[in-house]
């Protein structure tokens, strides 16, 4: 059974005055217009809609807003990988059902709250024991960053190179939260969030929504393979901190399903919630040798005009990170690239693209491979 991407749409990432349902409806309207079909099912993702905004039972609220009363629908939550999980479960539902077309929507509103409040909400994805110690996502990411630096003799400059590259790419993306280039001076003058990570090493808090229409009808872009996997919630329970096992297992499942290896991949979107995570993600996907991703970034091999562009959209770092949406935004970006619709970011001669999304502190990750259909 072949599954194709038929259309997509977004509410721009950044600071929005619209609520989570209105943003979802706007993205969905674009996707339905682009896809030119009426969806027969609706899968929705939002991580903070209930806890932060008191919005429960979001599916019929979105269905009402876009005139899809009577549609089959449900909500999925895998924390910050929700967008990717949604896409994968929707593809499986489409394959198993007698439907022809479905719609996947992720929407998140995060801005306008005190930093401590958002930090607490996001820290809820960590284990109870970690939260008890005051650990945060950036705090645990900082411990992993230090481990990477020591283990591979990687300089902090490599993290900065990720941020500079992704901000440069975000400048070309009309939906990006940040459309400005940054310099090493900007980074070094920015606030330390959890040493060694500074503000420019961390993806921002963003509002935004993305909708993607999938179909059994053939289009330019086909789903080639997908996979997901969990890992222990407690960071200290993992065999090692050398990469994320959840990504490694998910990637193997996706490559096996697509019947390809990593050498076929010509573009990647990786969950750079923190700059070192882009490097670790490259290694977990085997598009960089273990311990060598930082060298590739410093040599500009992952720039838009490089050997294998990574986060040409600007990544979470510059496109923005409405948590449940980022995984679906990655898939939309790979789809736009493969169908030649990425405008100023367009990379030529693409065949396969890969999207890697991280849930929690890499405890529920997903990998999705798309290809240009024959």
């Amino acid at each position: 059974m072949s599954i194709y991407i038929r259309g997509s749409g977004a509410h721009p990432f950044g600071k929005s005055k619209k609520d989570v349902i209105t943003m979802a409806a706007e993205a969905a309207t674009y996707a339905i217009e682009n896809g030119n079909r009426k969806p027969e099912f609706l899968f929705v993702g939002s991580m903070l809609d209930n806890n932060l905004h008191g919005v429960a039972n979001i599916v019929p609220k979105i269905a009402d807003a876009i005139g899809l009363n009577g549609i089959y629908g449900m909500k999925i939550d895998t924390a910050s990988s929700t967008g990717a999980a949604l896409f994968q479960i929707a593809a499986q539902y489409l394959a198993a059902s007698n439907c022809t077309t479905g719609l996947v929507i992720a929407s998140e509103r995060m801005t306008g709250y005190d930093g401590s409040k958002i930090t607490s909400m996001l820290a809820q994805v960590l284990s109870y024991d970690e939260q008890l110690h005051g650990a945060t996502m950036p705090g645990l990411a900082a411990l992993i960053a230090k481990d990477y630096m020591k283990r591979y003799n990687a300089p902090y400059d490599a993290f900065s190179a990720v941020a500079i590259k992704n901000h440069r790419n975000g400048l070309l993306n009309p939906i990006a939260h940040f459309k400005k280039e940054i310099t090493m001076k900007d980074i070094m003058e920015s606030r330390v969030v959890a040493d060694p990570l500074r503000v420019y090493d961390c993806a921002p808090v963003s509002d935004g929504a993305v909708a993607v229409m999938i179909s059994k009808e053939k289009t330019d872009v086909e789903l080639a393979g997908f996979g997901g996997a969990t890992d222990t919630v407690n960071l200290v329970d993992r065999d090692n901190l050398d990469g994320f096992r959840a990504t490694q297992i998910a990637a193997k499942r996706a490559y096996d399903m697509a019947k390809i290896n990593s050498h076929k991949i010509s573009i990647a979107e990786i969950h750079d919630a923190f700059t070192p995570f882009e490097l670790i993600g490259m290694e977990d996907l085997n598009i960089a040798e273990r311990g060598n991703a930082w060298k590739m970034v410093l040599k500009d091999e992952t720039a838009l005009n490089g050997r294998i562009p990574v986060n040409g959209s600007g990544g979470l770092k510059a496109r923005g990170h409405p948590v449940s949406v980022s995984g679906l935004a990655q898939i939309m970006e790979i789809s736009l690239q493969l169908s030649g619709m990425a405008e100023k970011r367009q990379v030529d001669n693409l065949s396969y693209g890969i999207a890697q999304s991280t849930g929690g502190l890499a405890s529920n990750n997903f990998v999705t491979i798309l290809r240009r259909s024959d």
Partner: protein
């Protein structure tokens, strides 16, 4: 202090488990003394609600290669590679320098 061991595979943890997250086998606890060496340490400046900034967290590794997440004092008395005592109070682990305990 209790370390938790899997009865079947090599899994061990400082965090209480009833079943092994890797193979699902039962877990048993064993009373042990704790010292460890700090592998990584960070200072968090944007902290969750209910905490006063900054919060310092670290990972210590025991002699049998068990990793422990804990808090360290908000000064330079504990650094990476230091040997520390690991104590537990109200569910939280604390790392203090070996040379200042007595």
């Amino acid at each position: 202090m209790i370390q938790f061991y899997c009865t079947k595979c090599d899994f061990k943890s400082i965090v209480e488990h009833f079943h092994c997250p890797y193979c699902g086998s039962p877990i048993i606890g064993k009373e042990v003394d704790y010292t460890g060496r700090i592998s990584n340490i960070t200072t968090i400046y944007t902290v969750p609600e209910g905490f006063k900034a900054p919060v310092r967290i670290a990972i210590a590794v025991t002699s049998n290669n068990l990793r422990v997440l804990g808090n360290v004092p908000d000064d330079d008395s504990v650094k990476e590679n230091d040997e520390v005592y690991i104590t537990k109070k109200e569910g939280r682990f604390y790392f203090t320098p070996v040379h200042t305990k007595y």
